[in-house]
Symmetry: C2
DNA sequence: GACCGGACATGATACGTATAACGTGAGGCG
DNA sequence: CGCCTCACGTTATACGTATCATGTCCGGTC
């Protein structure tokens, strides 16, 4: 079972004799002062260093493999051109895409993004600002990771909130997805298919974005005569979704013909619950998800869901932060979302 | 619900007047020297500072909300107690768990972990060591993120490889999952169920861990008289798995009765392909996955798959790095894996 | 009483960088 | 000729921290 075939070679034993090459070394090699190296490599030498010397500095830097010491640079400059992205546990690809988009937007202006996934386990996050181990210029945080934000109190760092109440005064800027519109599209879709008894498997997370889902659905369904809504709380997860759907489908009163889920994963669980009760999706019960994860097309039938522009979301957040860093007010933005109709929804049964 | 009571204060407009509080400020407040503050907060004051003053230093630090400047500390100390974890694109929760485990192991010794997801898009990674924006003590890298490792050449940073050839001389240490054993368990399971014509949907990624899967499966199946293996390359993804499975099931010769997949996501796609051909899982075709992601129990039937101890994996990697950092040789470790039998596999059809 | 070790406290220093402050000449212009 | 400007270079400094090198005081011991 265990492959014990490799003889124990003790590589890595040398005390890491890493002779860091500094800007002074480059200066010596190029025959100039350390200041000149800094000017050339920082592209600020228009009339301060002769083109010939500038070139030899660049050559020496390349030759020696010079890498500026980020710690020293940060200490000197007071800023790091680095943002921290605080997200809930990375259990889906959604926030990975948000990070990707933020990184891309950041790179355009020489910024970097450090990812901090709020630990899913018990207890609050340790210290995000210690763990990330970078001196930071600003923070972008999902409203789902509120617990980690307590540590931010006291740091004067500008904060951009993702999917949060625009009135929240902790934030220098807010970027939202048009969650309300997504929910309205889901409701309209189901109502147009003739559904009137609708269940809502609502995420049991205390977060603005989920509260908004519930409120919007109430309003969309509440206005229709003869329509009723049954809400069941559900943790995020397949089994939790299965259990919540079971509760919604077997509770008192007539059975719902459609289940709206706050999340694709919960929706996948809901589909399983429907089948375990001997019913079919979508002939007996329609199910909708949210996020359009890879999971949505992995299950059968494929999920009708709301596609969120995750990468744009992250990019917009990063841009808002950089704008705030410039001292300019960042306008609040709301990104459009899109209903994707697939096989998990169909006409209400007669 | 929405509190509209706060008048629109133009927050974020002030030029971020953040008066960083330094160790000197704490010293002034506590009536001691800056050196004393450093000693007390660094827990090195056994006989250097009086208990009374030590306490007043702690009080002052708490009062002023002192946070040591990481950049200055790094510059002075030359190390940061920070590791970079380089992983492929975070499209599944697997590497999120690896990160979680690494963080936990790191925290025990005051280390931190910065996560660097190699961008999934086109082109190689920008500069991991610039992007992570931290001065680093070492690197832990998945063998799947080899492209990002080119940038490591030149930095003298110790490297721990995850799931890689133990002979690779770039690494100071290697930590592996017992992938070979997992594949053998899958093969034994299918052979015991009577399957003889087996398809392998092999990840089309040039990586040691996937090459090992193929080699091991060849050996396990090759030794059985009358058994044959048909291999089809498949990118990671639901649709890619679907297409590859279609190819495997409709190719020349008798149809395979079982499909071994390198990944749960591919397996999910394979299940869809089976059904699109009018066949059933597992009555006509058995399917196995790998990783035991949340996805494995979201699809129907649930996937027989190999569960990997992701958190332990990350923790072992981090511990190996810290051992190497201490100058001690890190013994190569291989972590056991476990076959999880579910509904996607069954007896071979007669 | 001289000496010593230990507890307590501080000043000085260096990590590597970016940039302000300061010099040079050379050439243009009155 | 004086003087200013411009192009080119260097020296000096500060960012905030950890730690080395000193230094003082005090109680004990021969």
């Amino acid at each position: 079972m265990s492959s014990n075939d490799t003889s124990a070679t003790d590589r890595g034993a040398q005390p890491s004799a890493a002779p860091r090459v500094t800007s002074r070394d480059v200066a010596r090699a190029a025959g100039v002062s350390q200041a000149a190296v800094s000017l050339v490599l920082g592209e600020k030498w228009r009339g301060r260093v002769s083109p010939a010397k500038a070139e030899s500095v660049r050559a020496a830097a390349l030759e020696l493999g010079y890498r500026p010491n980020l710690a020293a640079r940060s200490l000197r400059m007071g800023r790091t051109r680095t943002a921290l992205l605080v997200v809930p546990a990375l259990t889906t690809e959604f926030f990975a895409l948000v990070h990707s988009g933020a990184s891309r937007a950041a790179a355009d202006r020489g910024f970097g993004v450090v990812l901090y996934p709020s630990p899913e386990g018990i207890g609050p996050a340790p210290d995000p600002f210690g763990s990330a181990r970078a001196t930071l210029d600003g923070v972008i945080a999902s409203s789902m990771a509120v617990d980690a934000l307590a540590a931010l109190r006291g740091t004067g760092l500008p904060l951009v909130m993702l999917d949060n109440d625009p009135q929240d005064d902790r934030a220098a800027a807010t970027v939202n997805l048009d969650i309300a519109d997504g929910i309205r599209q889901v409701a309209d879709h189901l109502l147009a298919l003739g559904h009137r008894r609708i269940g809502h498997l609502a995420a049991d997370i205390d977060s603005w974005t989920f509260a908004l889902r519930a409120r919007t659905l109430d309003r969309a369904i509440g206005g229709i005569p003869g329509a009723e809504l049954r809400r069941v709380p559900a943790a995020l997860g397949v089994t939790a979704g299965l259990n919540a759907a079971h509760t919604a489908l077997t509770g008192p009163g007539p059975r719902p013909t459609a289940l709206v889920c706050d999340d694709d994963i919960v929706a996948a669980g809901a589909c399983k619950a429907v089948r375990r009760l001997g019913l079919r999706v979508p002939e007996d019960v329609s199910v909708t998800g949210f996020d359009d994860l890879a999971l949505a097309v992995a299950v059968e039938p494929e999920l009708t869901t709301v596609r969120l522009p995750a990468e744009d979301f992250g990019a917009a957040g990063m841009r808002a932060l950089m704008t705030a860093l410039d001292g300019r007010p960042a306008p609040a933005r709301t990104l459009p979302v899109e209903l994707v109709t697939r096989g998990s929804t169909g006409p209400a049964p007669a």
